[in-house]
Symmetry: C2
Subunit: 569 residues, 2 copies
């Protein structure tokens, strides 16, 4: 393609609104433009890269035996009411009415549509198992769209759904998708990790997230450098190394005046004790009923773990009024004593604490020198907290590492949640009617594009992996006014193009500096510069990733490009 | 692909809800399923054919120099307000609010989005001309969705937009798209005709519709079998052959009592004159102002022609009350005499009529033996009517032919309507600021799929054109229980697949009759049946279109398939 008329509006300066590297570079290189918050147009170069990602996804899904179809974006509300999600999905689900006042959702995900389709079309075990997928636009009204394509409101997704006859068959379908995802992200050139994740409220049993490692990522990944353990922070388990015994472990508990110490920080400073000696009591409402969670002061409550433990779908903080009316207590001074009428769950690290500090449900007073086993009632102990720096792997004991990731894929065992609610049954070999066993599998196609750029860029611009670069070769003519340069360039352009190599030819009437600058920004893997030595049939080659530069004779070019791509795929 | 696990639910009977042939066959062959009125899921076989159409469209658009991008479906209402279409587009435009109460349209068309994009990114004549396209899902809340994919509410469309610097350059861009469309529809195997159409209220200057000929079509095409003239009925001009002179051409006009003759039919029967002797006077409101249109009684008013003549955007009938108050007349008895305070336009066929009948604006009376030039005031004469059977071509005089068509494509010169409203200006060679000159070009991708099936089917099912068939070869094993048949089939399957031929292998445990029946319904061009002669390495070939059947040795198969496709493309 000739660059002169290509719509690739590059920007000289970093756009102020773009925080994330990928967002900045995609705007600067003219890959995308924002139409509305979280809603983007893909310009020709961005769209070409997006298509290459789609092609790879399609090839691997087909190779894994999945069948492609295409479902609508307009979902009648009846479907979502049947699954029960119309009311619980919340404002992320975009809704509208048609001209006759019928309600529709804009598809945020397609479990309802696919499950009713398969329910209506498959009745016999003979037609199972089946895995179906689509590459389609999704709509989610994110509260806080940001980072360009990383968190948008209209985005491209590949979603797949498997229907199996048994848990073992689901295991196989799941593994096939897991393997396909591994191939996809490897081919795309992502540095990624598949991590255990929480199956949470969606009701499944097994789930992995595919995380592209990147500092901008909104997810924290916990992994063990020694064994293969890796999990999302929401799911990760860690064990703290044993604490040294407290100095005052045998002192008697004592009520002390601690005015205005409503935070762990204030209390820790006032009493001159470390936060880990303080027992934080968090008053919560789990599905509407009050409860108390206890953790060491330096730990973070993991709501997802808590929900799984108590089987709740919603957990929120009690308000000051509710703390007064339900617990007869005061925010900042809550403690377990006298609250035997509500459930109390303590993190396992609380067990055996001595010389600890805890609230007494009385304004401005705490109890100090607390020995948990001596001075407090019996609790249920569980893993309630986020894994933290310094924790050890629960499998091998090695210290855990923490890193940030972007969720680019998700594989999930749904089980029978949707098939039961929507009546997707099949008759088995013996004629018995059974619910189909489902899995669902997503890849954020447009998010992958951004994640790739987060990982493959430098000061000058994008450094495309070869497999998804919008063009294979960037041909740059230093001076289009020079007949020799122009003719040599034209020959090269046609020779490579005829050989099936996609070439972007910078044939613009621009200064050489502008062209080199743009070429680095666009990041096409191989750049061929036709300059002064064109008369000697010599052109300059530059590899974008390594920065390697060398001269080649025009006659060697085609072979060189072919071998460059065959060795770098 | 092995058919056993392919999701292609065939139906034995014609679904009651499907009127159109393509709709029936797409449901019966398991290509689509309805999710909601006018909203469909494409099942794997339907999606494969849809993708082949997309591929052809993409290839021809790229070859014509158009650049592909992808725009969002969510359009902020501000854009549509800026173009003025938010208020005039009506209930076909689907609308919704996001979580913050901001209004959005679901893209029914993308003039607003593309024009503001190009406005923001292109300032100089050096970057023009440019033609941009996308293949994307459109939403239009049709009042009456029907005929399956022929008129849906969510559908796949290719829309392209050109931006030029001069009218001459637009002519070139337009012609390139016209030629690309001709190639596309030819390759897809459609029997189509490009017809002149009305540019109507959109405000353009030149426009052609690409019509797939089919009885189910909602458009009437008028074409001349002698010269190349072809137009949509909305635009078509025809000339009636000269009338024989009326018998009473010299009689004096006379007022007669014609009780209860409010329709042409009643009046014609009462007076025993033919409808073409009656002058029909239609009282209208054009953009709110009353006017009168006169036509021979057997002709149909063409509102689109009328609008173009008087420059109105809306034309409706006057109500009985308005006829009384504005014209002091009575429905059924309206005539031009005494109405000089409103515009009167007569069809050119009214000129020179003699012995005619016309209303007198008086209940139950008409004037007969009217000589238009003698008895009526002067009118403006124009072509106001639909072309009709018997009309002659205005170019060559040959009798015109009438046929029905499905609009599958549309090319349109927009001019500066959007660029002026949305400020898409460029500076020309002399630094002057000029509005870009636009064209827009659409193909209804999903409608094309249905149109192909309307044209390519027989009693038994679909007869795919080779270029868009979901598979190239249908391999059918009569008995999967038979080891020889199964092994021979498996060999053929792998041989052809390895050679890059897409094979659907019916490996199901079904009766042969069911398999043959389904094969005819699915309509893959070449069927290879492995049956009893498998032990002799003989298989049976059947060509779906011609019905030709013959035996082949397994060793000849690959060459035969390749030559079948190279000669039938």
């Amino acid at each position: 393609m000739r660059q002169q008329h290509l719509l690739h509006p590059t920007l000289r300066d970093n756009p102020a609104e773009a925080e994330a590297l990928s967002h900045r570079l995609m705007l600067r290189a003219g890959l995308i433009r924002q139409l509305s918050s979280g809603v983007y147009t893909y310009l020709p170069l961005g769209f070409k890269a997006l298509r290459r990602i789609q092609d790879i996804v399609r090839q691997e899904m087909d190779a894994a035996g999945a069948q492609e179809l295409l479902m609508p974006a307009l979902h009648p509300s009846e479907l979502w009411k049947e699954s029960g999600r119309w009311d619980v999905y919340g404002p992320e689900l975009m809704r509208l009415e048609d001209r006759n006042g019928r309600e529709f959702a804009l598809g945020a995900t397609h479990e309802e549509v696919i499950t009713t389709l398969v329910r209506d079309e498959i009745q016999s075990y003979k037609k199972l198992p089946v895995t179906l997928y689509q590459i389609q636009t999704k709509f989610r009204d994110e509260r806080r769209p940001r980072f360009g394509l990383l968190r948008g409101r209209e985005f491209l997704m590949k979603d797949a759904y498997s229907f199996d006859r048994s848990a073992e068959e689901l295991d196989e379908s799941y593994q096939r998708m897991y393997d396909a995802y591994t191939s996809i992200f490897t081919r795309i050139g992502l540095n990624f990790r598949a991590v255990e994740a929480d199956s949470g409220a969606i009701g499944g049993t097994d789930t992995h997230e595919f995380m592209a490692l990147a500092d901008i990522g909104e997810d924290t990944i916990v992994h063990c450098p020694a064994c293969k353990y890796a999990a999302n922070i929401e799911k990760a388990a860690g064990v703290a190394p044993p604490l040294a015994k407290a100095a005052n472990q045998f002192a008697a508990a004592e009520k002390v005046y601690t005015p205005n110490t409503t935070s762990i920080k204030q209390l820790s400073e006032f009493l001159q004790v470390s936060p880990q000696q303080i027992i934080k009591a968090i008053a919560l409402k789990a599905d509407g009923r009050p409860m108390l969670a206890l953790l060491p002061g330096h730990r973070e409550l993991n709501e997802i773990k808590l929900k799984a433990i108590i089987g709740a779908t919603q957990v929120e903080m009690l308000s000051e009024d509710e703390i007064a009316s339900e617990l007869q207590s005061v925010p900042g001074f809550i403690g377990p004593n006298g609250l035997s009428h509500i459930p109390i769950i303590a993190d396992q690290e609380v067990r055996g604490m001595t010389d600890a500090v805890i609230g007494m449900n009385e304004r401005d007073y705490h109890l100090v020198h607390v020995d948990v086993s001596r001075d407090l009632p019996e609790f249920t102990y569980r893993d309630l907290r986020n894994a933290a720096e310094g924790d050890r792997c629960t499998r091998c004991g090695h210290e855990l590492a923490f890193t940030k990731g972007i969720e680019v894929g998700h594989v999930f065992k749904l089980g029978t949640k949707y098939s039961e609610k929507l009546g997707a049954l099949f008759s088995d070999e013996h004629g018995a009617s059974m619910p189909m066993i489902m899995g669902c599998y997503g890849i954020g196609i447009s998010r992958v594009l951004a994640a790739v750029i987060e990982q493959h860029a430098d000061e000058q611009g994008i450094v495309w992996p070869h497999t998804i670069a919008p063009f294979a070769v960037h041909l740059l003519t230093v001076s289009m006014q020079d007949d020799t340069q122009r003719n040599v360039s034209e020959d090269i352009y046609h020779t490579l193009t005829r050989a099936g190599i996609e070439v972007l030819w910078d044939d613009r009437e621009e200064r050489a500096g502008v062209k080199f600058h743009d070429a680095d920004l666009l990041g096409i893997p191989l750049r061929l510069t036709v300059g002064r030595k064109a008369s000697e049939q010599i052109i300059e080659c530059k590899e974008r990733r390594s920065g390697k530069q060398y001269e080649l004779n025009v006659l060697q070019l085609l072979a060189h490009c072919q071998s460059f791509y065959s060795t770098n795929d």
